[in-house]
Symmetry: C2
Subunit: 368 residues, 2 copies
């Protein structure tokens, strides 16, 4: 006998108490809002008693050469780090679900799963958890282009977790993805720690293509892992977040500028080559915010995503309203039929930049 | 009979209570740390009973054309806004003192006053308060170059306040400055509100020369005033504050980028012309912080100033330690003889960027 819904409250209380018990289409679950002992934030417990650990944070290397030497002692598998949102996909009570990083069942991803990957793997291996990035220009969690995904979103499996909670090593993971036609995050292969030139070529290509970076996982010890991002990723984050400069901590921007400095420095390149792009990212982002404020009366970050059923749009908006901080409002914008699907457009309205622009663009003098 | 030092405490308590009673070389005074009714923050009361109002904040126009039309209804005198620190200079108990914006007697400026301006004006007009900007590349409150001040600091009088607390109109102020050889903030003359082309030429020249901007004061009503800054000023602030990005509110940077956007927009110029400069300002500032962290083990904002007597260096450092926020530490660096003077070098150590760089440049992975 697994726990009943009442047991989920007890489980939550026994695991630090920070989190919530929620229901998705009749399926109850509890989620942890904070790390608790060895369970990361976003861990979920189902009435069956099954516990799905949260996806752990991956440490970042700021220097590739020094980072590899410091953190690995065997060859590494190098996979592309996609810039999207992280989901854990699993089968529970006969249903295939997608959990967000925070441990919520994502109504959008769950609803769109059949479009994004074949689920047959769970018929044979119902105990597995697939960890994947969902990325694309039409995502409810992300704005801005994603290289290689021209429209909608795509899903990229990058980890397979067994029933014991351990991650599979790359060869087994690749075999599973191949056997079940699972879309796989690109893998650039296995690199010895002295193959820096080869790895460097991968990094430079990703940077030139505007891609996010890589995750290195040690051969035979896939829990030993570290990520490394391109300068292009830092610039792209700054560009798409310019209108949220006041919502995000200053550290968000400073870290990305510092990453850019360190990236160019390690490659012996002059910073001047990036200064125009950095200035553009900030100026264009804020000039567009000003233009939108004048045009529409407010700054709104406009998200688009596709759904197969209009009722999912409501579910998604309700989910986003519940999970967004109180300083960002969600506002439905449009729902249009596009072929067999519906395109939902909604806005996230950042409070601070709107307050500042009301003050700066108004007729009164500004006392700063 | 004026108040005694005990009366200063009573005065402070009667004026909101926020502030302090202090002593400068045997002279007691009380200062207000907040606005209180019609007295601005930084207002000071002396034992004589004399109250010197704080210097009021000047409202900023974000658009020149709309701002002039909205805030003035007669011609304006247009003066250069220097980028330095604001002092009020006065004679009290036979001594000529300089008060900072916050209402402290500034030991540096007071000590250097004889080098910066002739004080004879107070022999004839002991009731006057001169409001001035002190600016230069060797300032205890400021780093970075100041156009037109090649070394040390210079003083620029921009307002004269009579015993009644009212500001003098430009012609009287100019006459006083001329009669007593007082160094004057440059005045570009009197502009009718329809002389926008002439005023625009002034603004463009200031911007091209990297100067801060202007303050407009209405002819015959000098308390009606508004400031307008160049794009160059915004860029310069960002450049010199890059290492303090984490200490300052994000709004500091966002506002300056927005000012830059609005400045170029009003002039019909493409933002692309400024993007390289903005990117440089941020990248160079943070790259220099990284280089200094590696070289010296920490990021320190290095200030220089000249004193005529080594004891003033100690007084100044004690003053800065008392008046700096607790997140910035002051650290003496060097005191060297230079001709008849001494050059004091000291550091302000911003805590957050040092914490972040220790984390980012260290050997461990970064969990962000």
């Amino acid at each position: 006998m697994g726990p009943t819904p009442a047991d989920l409250k007890a489980w939550l209380a026994d695991h630090g108490g920070r989190g919530s018990v929620r229901r998705y289409h009749g399926l109850d679950y509890a989620r942890l809002a904070d790390d608790w002992e060895r369970l990361p934030r976003g861990s979920v417990c189902f009435p069956s008693g099954r516990v799905v650990p949260g996806y752990p944070r991956i440490g970042r290397m700021l220097a590739l050469r020094a980072g590899l030497a410091a953190h690995f002692d065997a060859p590494v598998w190098v996979e592309e780090k996609l810039d999207g949102y992280n989901v854990r996909i699993l089968r529970e009570q006969g249903r295939t679900l997608a959990l967000t990083r925070g441990g919520f069942v994502c109504p959008f991803t769950t609803h769109r799963l059949a479009d994004l990957m074949p689920a047959a793997v769970f018929d044979d291996h119902p105990e597995l958890v697939l960890c994947a990035e969902v990325a694309g220009p039409e995502s409810p969690y992300q704005i801005g282009p994603v290289p290689g995904v021209a429209q909608d979103v795509a899903l990229f499996v990058f980890d397979v977790m067994g029933a014991n909670g351990a991650y599979w090593d790359a060869p087994d993971k690749n075999a599973l993805c191949q056997a079940y036609a699972l879309p796989r995050a690109p893998c650039f292969g296995r690199f010895r720690l002295d193959q820096l030139a080869e790895l460097e070529a991968v990094i430079r290509r990703l940077d030139a293509e505007g891609r996010e970076g890589v995750v290195c996982k040690q051969d035979g010890a896939p829990e030993r892992r570290a990520k490394y991002a391109t300068a292009a990723a830092s610039l792209q984050h700054i560009r798409t977040s310019a209108a949220q400069l006041l919502e995000l901590p200053a550290q968000f921007f400073v870290e990305r500028i510092l990453r850019l400095v360190l990236f160019e420095e390690e490659r012996g390149r002059a910073l001047a080559g990036r200064s125009g792009a950095l200035g553009h990212a900030l100026l264009d982002g804020l000039a567009e915010a000003v233009a939108q404020f004048r045009r529409e009366g407010r700054v709104a970050l406009r998200y688009r995503c596709r759904v197969n059923d209009p009722s999912v749009a409501d579910e998604l908006l309700a989910h986003l309203e519940k999970t967004s901080g109180h300083e960002v409002r969600i506002r439905h914008h449009a729902l249009e039929r596009v072929g067999d699907q519906w395109r939902l457009t909604f806005d996230r309205i950042p409070a601070h930049i709107n307050g500042l622009l009301r003050q700066l663009l108004g007729p009164q003098l500004v006392y700063d």
